[in-house]
Symmetry: none
Subunit: 221 residues, 2 copies
DNA sequence: TTGTTTTGTAAAGATTGTGTAAATAAAAAA
DNA sequence: TTTTTTATTTACACAATCTTTACAAAACAA
């Protein structure tokens, strides 16, 4: 059963969401302020986190950023005010996965949660990933661009796949290092940059889809 | 004939499935608890394993995980409760191939099994495999290249057949060792490389179709 | 603008993985 | 048994890949 954390300070909203989601069979927990939310999220491994942006004691943006820095890969859905365009954008860059504008219907929320849950498993299960003119076959370690084979090294290949699995999400160098290199890297090495460079050179010379998020890392859009 | 193992503790369900599958001409075996199931699965090479998740003595998830760790490549179908979203997801992550929710009709089950069999059995069931200018006759351990007999040793032959059955898929040395040598190899020996080398020498001097995937293993394209 | 930080890029250096031959061990045949 | 064949280990060179480094370019802040 999927585990969901709600970080929301308005008691009424929080209770309502919690009630709805429990009805749907999810395992729901709540936090009433930023700090508590952050600590819970950090300790437990939630599938989805619903994150209000305006919070006492530690705001949503910070929480999101810190969680990503810790390589937490929960699916984070921001709850934003209707007109807060700036924070939506900001939040997505920082590593949130999606947002829902308040007020929202239970149906909308549930739909978004499902997307998140599906993505967490699905894409890594799919052997073949299509993206623009690329076709990546994981079982045979092949990459085709417009049907033509592109020669990638193992690290390049793994990097590409990982970015695609986390499409739309900004990934920090640290996250990439721990997930692809398999250890927390010490020192300020910049291997990732070099591999991104090589990847771009081979399949994306104009950085059209491997975007640099300054101060954070990289993402594929 | 395809071999299927049912790991299910509820006698009634187990008998029913067994009956149905035997009707369809499968070679069926059953295990009544987790431990027995695991041991059978581990010793014999089943094409498909039907795995109940709630089991006495060793739960389904553990079984699945351990089997995959041993490089067992049976097609594993989990039998889950209707609303057990979490275990489905979890199970697929751990290495199960598919799931069927209880209660299920014989028709549904049989359809899923067929999917699994198609993926696995097909080519290994064929006695004669054609590939480019090669003709491999499994029953007589013969290999002809352009109609001319090529002398392969047993290991070379098995290796060639296994690569061909998994055509297009990159196979790690570990996978090859457990599936062809039949044990989990300790130490970092490189028997596989040597056999690949000999194979190439005899039928593919330019490594035109036995490709090396650096850092991974080998594949036939 | 200027200074500072971050990223892009190229190239050199270090490391790892594979090809290959030859030596040794094990198994099968004579 | 001995001989022959096959399997495995070992060693080494070479090549591919990874990582570091240094500097240029770009982005940002003041």
């Amino acid at each position: 059963m999927a585990k969901i954390l709600i970080i929301e300070d308005e008691k009424s909203i929080q209770r309502m969401i919690e009630y709805d989601l429990k009805q749907l069979g999810y395992n729901v927990e709540s936090a009433i302020d930023g700090l508590e939310g952050y600590e819970k999220a950090s300790k437990n491994n939630y599938d989805v986190i619903l994150l209000d942006l305006m919070l006492p004691s530690m705001n949503g943006m910070e929480i999101c950023k810190k969680l990503r820095e810790e390589n937490n890969d929960s699916y984070i859905i921001m709850l934003t005010a209707l007109d807060d365009e700036y924070n939506k954008v900001q939040g997505l860059e920082i590593g949130a996965d999606d947002y829902v504008t308040k007020p929202f219907s239970p149906r909308v929320l549930s739909a978004r949660i499902k997307v998140g849950l599906r993505r967490r498993v699905k894409s890594s299960e799919e052997d073949i990933i299509y993206y623009n003119d690329l076709k990546i076959i994981q079982s045979s370690y092949e990459v085709l661009k417009d049907g033509i084979n592109v020669d990638l090294t193992l690290k390049e290949f793994e990097l590409l796949v990982y970015l695609l699995i986390n499409k739309g999400r900004a990934l920090s160098r640290d996250q990439l290092l721990t997930n692809l290199w398999g250890f927390s890297y010490d020192g300020d090495s910049r291997v990732v940059d070099v591999h991104i460079f090589k990847l771009r050179e081979k399949i994306d010379p104009r950085a059209e889809f491997i975007k640099t998020i300054r101060g954070i890392g990289y993402k594929i859009i």
